[in-house]
Amino acid sequence: MEDIFITNDRLDSKACTETVTYPGAGGIVVFVGTVRNQTKGKTVKHLEFESYEKMALKEMQKIADEATERWSLYKMVIHHRLGLVPIEEEAVVIACSSAHRKEAFEACQYAIDTLKETVPIWKKEVFEDGEVWVSAHP
């Protein structure tokens, strides 16, 4: 079972953990990406995310399908937030469950690594004196 979701509202990592809980599961791994208050020593006010949503959902679904197949997961959830996200709040939550923990760790790490490479979502860091699209330039 997979649950792929993009929203402008706050994420709920607890709900994601509950979604992947399963009687046959022995291990649940949850990754939560929160907004950092600084980058390379510079104070970040907040982040702004935008997305090519139709394609982002499709790419997130591919990640969940691939991970579920490869690590025999019971469930995987990928939720991503868009719009303005304040410091400390959750920008992305990935949760998955498997019979044993090793698979859940590997699958969760694969999912966030791949999301950052393939899913068309863009993050802008907003500083006191300007803003920068993250990773846009070498």
Binding site: G33, F49, E50, S51, Y52, K54, M55, A56, K58, H80, A91, V92, I112, L115, K116, E117, T118, V119, P120, I121, W122, K123, K124, W133, V134, S135, A136, H137, P138
Partner: protein
Amino acid sequence: MEIEVVAFGIAKDIIKGKQVSISLSDNFTVGEARKKLSEQYPDFSKLTSLRFAVNADYVQDDYVLNPKDEVVLIPPVSGG
């Protein structure tokens, strides 16, 4: 033919808008569209990467564009 190209993230800043129309002869490829856009907007060459999506899937430079395609510029993604 005319192709509407939709932009996100920094690509939007570079074209100064949400979309741009480019004129191509028929059976032109994504590679040719990329070349045309880079000439018009030199700032694209400063990006770490610039991928194209057609109908919500990544495509390579040899993809032949169709006027009905939904063409989207994908500058370096940074979700998560």
